[in-house]
Symmetry: C2
Subunit: 400 residues, 2 copies
């Protein structure tokens, strides 16, 4: 009874502290996610040590990661891409390539192993568009061109980052001849992604009549949860990360999510589980690794992470003008959950050191914190333009 | 990585099997809950041993129990009582007293310790109205008098059973002079229940302006979850069971649940977690304890459980006629989640043996399975009456 007691207490304690830090950050107009991670750092075992999460908490954090990516997948609507088109694709492609090259080169230059360098680089590529979307939504500028390019690019970005992660995990855990294995893994990863993107939604469509005949209550939710868990395991079995399966499961259900009312219900599960994931991300950060050298490294890596997205995502948007390019570049800067999960997978596979893990947490926090205030300044002109046109402004306000 | 792998596999495996058995039971017009428990018995360690749940699964089952009772609390609207009044109160009171006396007497007669007898008796009192409500809903007779008495009595029943459980847990874990301790615990339990029923909803009401000022997304859900976990711990700290706190937390939020849209979202969390609770209830059942003697005991206890509710709940409804009394009596027969949790608490406190645990699982399954077909037969006349009045029938159908 006593261990159960302690578990329940940890559950309560972690949930409340994570949400409290999140609330403080929101009030300071900073992203709540960073607050939840900071709660883990401050309250966790390496700092105040008020709570040392046990295995069950880490298991719940793991389910939290799966539901987090399942939610990201559900919110990724490939259909949205048709309206923004090519620019977004180029923004996403360059926005993945440039940070990967920057990250990999820097890590190799600082004598990391190729495996570690690959993982750190992979963790640097994924934009967390949630933070940007929130800021743009608050400013009521979601319908401007740069905002639409950013949101479109984020869809490609998520999918490309997942394929990249599959290849990286596969390559690192491979034992045979490196290049053959890498080729096999890449084909496997791309194949999995293509099947999930183009074939799985059709399967989901075909399931519909069967679901209607099911007697279980909330059958669509139950089936979606089962498939999410099943694909997570399938992804792990073929050498990828579980969250990749969860993400593509979400993608497969994305079209049917409004009809089956999946999103609000999966979000509710996510609302309960995600704080444990973010908290334990912070709790795993051993603050003792931060010496003078590592802090300098962390700052350099964060600057590289910032510049690489600014360049990679800004350049393809240049044809729409400097101003748009700058907005798109900054909008794609924040890293978030996907990068964190890549870092965690690397740590669990013993591919990256605690120092590299610390670098990545620092980089994620820095890029996520720096983007919102910059976006507010950059989009001031769009707001002013809207205010200068009072008759249009009201229309826009109604639409937003 | 490997243990995480195994955990994810268990998660998937248990969820799918529990839901599969649930679906089969639903198709056979039997309660899904019994199917989910049976999945745990059949797949679990003591039978096919296809899966041996690890600690993390049991931890998740524990959260499942908390959310289950939180949902029950949210769905208990004390306001509903005003319309049904006294009859329901008497039905609930006698429906708790008679089974307790029957259960306690039988267990003492079969040489159980007083503590064990108390726990088994306490597990026999709580009606699971979900099963009955589902059957009556399917028959479109929810607006008949017996149905309204049953649903009203279920509200009192839940609250009274929770108070009884608090007293029992407190009394059993007490170390001082038995009678003094029992008095203190009873006052504590009743006090806790009264505060939660009458004062807590007012506190929730006062929280509303504060919630509106909060920056956290989905603030009402986050606060409700935090309070549910907090009260679970509080209940445990003062010597009751965690689920009692969760139940009363639900009760405190019941009035605000529609306005804050809490129920569908808490239900979604419950939908994911509850199968792990029911499955692990079954998985804990050691089938080897079932010898000839225990089977006879189980059958006798089940018959007593059936008769005690039939008598206890039927008699107070006699003034509305024999027919109504019979319907009310049978409608209150099914035991479910609350009884199971009492059994589990007893097992974890080492107060009841594996044999007594087996008796209670058997009794829960038997009472839950036997009631639905009987209800369908008993309510045939109400259906026929509705069919005989075609113009009223259409109204009822629209209302239902």
């Amino acid at each position: 009874m006593h261990s159960a007691d302690a578990f329940l207490f940890q559950l309560f304690f972690i949930f409340v502290w994570a949400k409290l830090f999140g609330e403080i950050f929101e009030r300071l107009k900073l992203p709540a996610v960073v607050g939840e991670i900071l709660a883990g750092i401050v309250i966790g075992p390496y700092c105040a040590a008020l709570v040392v999460p046990n295995d069950s908490i880490y298991s719940i954090a793991q389910i939290g990661a799966i539901f987090l990516l399942f939610t990201v997948g559900l919110e990724t609507q490939p259909k949205d891409l048709l309206s923004v088109g090519q620019t977004s694709l180029y923004v996403a492609l360059a926005g993945i390539t440039v940070p990967f090259i920057f990250g990999f080169t820097y890590m190799i230059a600082t004598h990391a192993t190729p495996h570690e360098a690959t993982f750190v680089a992979a963790a640097m590529v994924a934009t967390s568009v949630g933070v940007t979307a929130r800021v743009l939504g608050d400013l009521h500028v979601l319908r401007t061109t740069p905002a639409r390019i950013i949101l479109g690019a984020a869809v490609f970005d998520d999918i490309l980052a997942m394929i990249l992660l599959s290849v990286v995990v596969g390559a690192v855990s491979a034992t045979g001849t490196a290049w053959i294995q890498l080729t096999v893994t890449s084909i496997e990863a791309v194949g999995f992604a293509l099947i999930m993107m183009f074939y799985a939604p059709r399967l989901v469509k075909r399931m519909e009549p069967g679901l209607k005949r099911m007697s279980t209550q909330n059958a669509p939710l139950v089936i979606a949860l089962a498939i999410c868990l099943g694909l997570s395991i399938a992804a792990e079995k073929i050498g990828m990360a579980a969250i990749i399966g969860a993400f593509f499961a979400g993608l497969a259900f994305a079209d049917y999510s409004p009809r089956w009312n999946l999103r609000p219900r999966v979000s509710a599960i996510n609302e309960f589980l995600a704080p444990f994931f973010f908290f334990s991300m912070g709790a795993r950060l051993d603050l003792r690794v931060f010496d003078r050298k590592l802090i300098i490294s962390a700052i350099i890596l964060s600057v590289l992470a910032f510049l690489s997205k600014l360049l990679g995502c800004g350049l393809p948007a240049l044809r729409s003008g400097w101003n748009t390019a700058l907005k798109v570049g900054v909008g794609m800067v924040p890293r978030g959950e996907v990068g964190l999960i890549v870092a965690l997978v690397g740590l669990q596979m013993n591919v990256i050191s605690h120092s590299a893990y610390a670098l990545l947490i620092f980089m994620t926090g820095a890029t996520t914190l720096v983007a919102p205030p910059l976006l507010r300044v950059l989009f001031k002109d769009a707001q002013t333009a809207l205010e200068a046109l009072p008759e249009r402004r009201s229309t826009v306000d109604v639409e937003v």
